[in-house]
């Protein structure tokens, strides 16, 4: 039963990847990534390791932070400073979606070749984690808008979280803690920098950030 649940949840994650590749406007992209954060945080509850009460609380806290607090604060930030809403793609939306599909297929194929005992019952787990990792990086490189880049980074971290919390029992809480810290601190500092980019350049298009070369 739980295997079915996990795979259903993971299908939602994969769909959110494709949605994020097709999103042209920032508020939409933020909500897609927020949704993805919630769904990804739910997975450890269903993957068969024993859950202590503390573990459940921790998972819920993670869910609140990555699913609600971070997306909300980014959303507020773009509203307050009145940033351009387009994500300014370097690679177009349709091309992005096709790339996303290809990456997911490739991730599935590669994970078929590997054999990880802890998660071999969950067919979609490893492919999804790997797909998140690669597609997050793709988003990071294929969008010019600084906030879209931060969202790509969060997607990457989602992938690592999924992998870290499920493939190894021992690493689990440490990974959760680590990623939480990373996301919180990293994203907060990025947000502060964004504020400053906005003030300095009057926009958050990273094309302005091209004066330092070589």
């Amino acid at each position: 039963m739980s295997i079915l649940q996990v795979d259903t949840i993971l299908t939602l994650v994969l769909l959110s990847v494709l949605f994020s590749f097709g999103s042209s406007r920032l508020p939409r992209l933020i909500s897609v990534v927020g949704f993805q954060g919630i769904v990804v945080s739910l997975v450890p509850l269903f993957v068969g390791h024993d859950m202590t009460a503390g573990g459940i609380v921790f998972t819920l806290a993670t869910l609140a932070i990555r699913g609600i607090i971070i997306p909300m604060s980014i959303y507020k930030a773009i509203n307050r400073v009145n940033i351009k809403r387009e994500v300014e793609p370097i690679v177009g939306y349709h091309a992005s979606i096709i790339c996303g599909l290809l990456l997911i297929v490739a991730a599935t194929w590669i994970s078929r070749q590997l054999n990880i005992p802890a998660i071999k019952d969950y067919t979609l787990l490893f492919p999804t984690a790997m797909a998140l990792l690669v597609t997050g990086m793709f988003l990071l490189m294929a969008r010019r808008n600084a906030i879209a880049m931060v969202l790509g980074y969060i997607m990457m971290e989602n992938g690592i979280y999924l992998l870290g919390t499920t493939i190894s029992v021992r690493a689990r809480h440490i990974v959760e803690f680590g990623i939480l810290l990373d996301i919180l601190a990293g994203v907060m500092i990025m947000a502060v920098i964004l504020q400053n980019i906005k003030q300095t350049f009057d926009d958050v298009d990273t094309a302005h950030l091209r004066s330092l070369k070589e």
Binding site: A118, L133, Y153, I193, E214
Partner: protein, 473 residues
């Protein structure tokens, strides 16, 4: 007890945010001195940590720690004079983050637990990012943004690598604490496939922070935009901290009998960095960026030497120590040049020998040292690495290595000659006070002294550190 080494600067750093300027400066120097005393104490007594699951004193950590401490103390003395010359908008923030930066880097050197180590490296990024943005210009903002984004992605890769290492423990049915020393002890039972994968991700992750090509793109910007004392810290010790992570993981690889695999990868990344530095250093028109590329070159040399093994590893550690000493002195001198000429471009400088003779002495001696002239340690280190490469029959790689060093020397020398001897009409706005030149002299003299005779305890610690990764004579 061991934990004091990073708790002291942490407390001092938090205090510095609230203290008035003049007190903050003395706090910087005072903490630097106290930290040096604590490091020497650790070096002599090698005590057990209170939280010994997470922290421990290792020979490679001690070497880095002593370098950090010594450098920070001298840089803090320089910083006091520097801050008198250059008014900063928010000096408290600068001194506070300098101290927090010291705290996080010290934490890196004593961390033994894989995740604590990772958290400490992450913390160095966060503590150092505001230092790059000290001048509040659009260029420094860009450099900070690049630094945080690229290093965060790198750190995420390193986290993935650490997770894969725990996976290799699970598959191998190993039950041990998740610390570098414990895993090295049971390395033979780890699953080799996932251990290799973990090593690659850790190398790419911490390599980003260390400045290995092609992940080095943040480094020249960050080093050139940060104010002098901060860039000296960046280049002198931050890069070593990241190297420590690769070093420790490499230890696990060697204990698992995968030393050849990790060696080849390290050599390739090392050579790529040296080549990248060679291509960019020749046509560089800013002196601080030129120094930054030279740091990339030296990190490449260190990675290359570590990959070769044997005598090459000894050479790599020698290079690491001397690079820290010499390069930080160069960045401090570059800080003086920037204060004096008020310009970053090489073409707007010139005549350093007559206009700023004391800085010239430090800058030129530093140049001689970093490009491997005999009286300085880099020469010996590079010689050992080349010897090691020939012993290991890596003739082609040794050839590329020597050739790139020559190209870098030519490019570097050309620019330094321009800065030092070209005719210049610039008016110098800086009086060369003792505090602005003596730290550099002390750094260079230390490098010289270490080269003439290396104390037995240091030699023994280096041997202890490198014997686990196939290093030694």
């Amino acid at each position: 007890m061991v934990e004091l080494i990073f708790l002291t600067p942490l407390v001092a750093g938090i205090l510095a945010f609230f203290l008035p300027k003049s007190l903050g400066r003395w706090l910087l120097v005072g903490t630097g001195a106290l930290h040096l005393i604590l490091s020497l104490f650790l070096w002599n007594n090698r005590p057990e940590a209170v939280f010994n699951r997470y922290f421990s004193v290792t020979p490679e950590g001690l070497l880095s720690l002593l370098v950090i401490s010594f450098l920070f103390f001298l840089i803090s003395i320089y910083a006091v004079s520097y801050l008198k010359e250059r008014e900063l908008q928010a000096e408290n923030v600068f001194t506070g983050f300098m101290l927090l930066f010291l705290s996080t880097m010290s934490m890196v050197t004593v961390s033994d637990h894989i995740m604590v180590f990772w958290i400490a490296i992450e913390a160095t990024t966060l503590a150092s990012a505001p230092l790059i943005y000290t001048h509040r210009s659009s260029a420094s903002l860009e450099a900070t943004w690049k630094y945080v984004l690229i290093c965060s992605v790198g750190i995420a890769m390193a986290l993935l690598g650490s997770v894969l290492i725990t996976l290799s423990m699970d598959i191998g049915n190993v039950n041990a604490v998740l610390s570098f020393s414990a895993i090295t002890g049971v390395a033979g039972k780890l699953d080799p496939f996932w251990l290799k994968a973990g090593f690659i991700f850790i190398l790419v992750g911490y390599g980003t922070k260390m400045g290995l090509a092609p992940m080095h793109t943040w480094l020249p910007d960050a080093h050139s935009e940060a104010p002098g004392p901060a860039s000296a810290l960046f280049s002198g010790v931050l890069l070593n901290c990241a190297y420590l992570g690769i070093f420790k993981t490499n230890k696990i690889m060697h204990a698992a009998g995968l030393g050849d695999f990790s060696g080849i990868i390290l050599m390739v990344f090392g050579l790529m960095s040296i080549l990248a530095a060679a291509t960019f250093i020749i046509r560089q028109n800013e002196y601080k960026r030129m120094l930054a590329y030279s740091s990339i070159e030296n990190m490449g040399i260190i990675a290359f030497g570590t990959g070769i093994g044997g005598i090459g590893v000894y050479g790599a550690v020698i290079c690491m120590i001397h690079h820290s000493l010499i390069k930080s002195s160069l960045f401090l001198s570059a800080g003086n040049i920037l204060l004096g000429y008020g310009n970053r471009l090489i073409k707007n400088t010139g005549g350093l020998i007559t206009l700023m003779p004391k800085t010239f002495l430090a800058f030129f001696a530093g140049f001689a040292g970093i490009s491997g002239f005999p009286p300085f340690g880099i020469f010996i280190g590079e010689l050992f690495i080349i010897l090691g490469a020939f012993r290991g029959k890596h003739y082609a790689m040794a050839g590329i290595f020597i050739l790139s060093l020559c190209v870098i020397f030519a490019g570097f020398a050309n620019q330094v000659m321009k800065i030092s001897f070209d005719h210049s009409k610039a008016t110098i706005r800086l009086k060369e006070k003792p505090g602005l030149v003596w730290p550099q002299y002390v750094l260079l003299l230390t490098s010289l002294a270490l080269c003439i005779s290396i104390p037995d305890t240091v030699h023994q610690t280096i041997i202890d550190a490198i014997s686990a990764i196939g290093g030694g004579f």
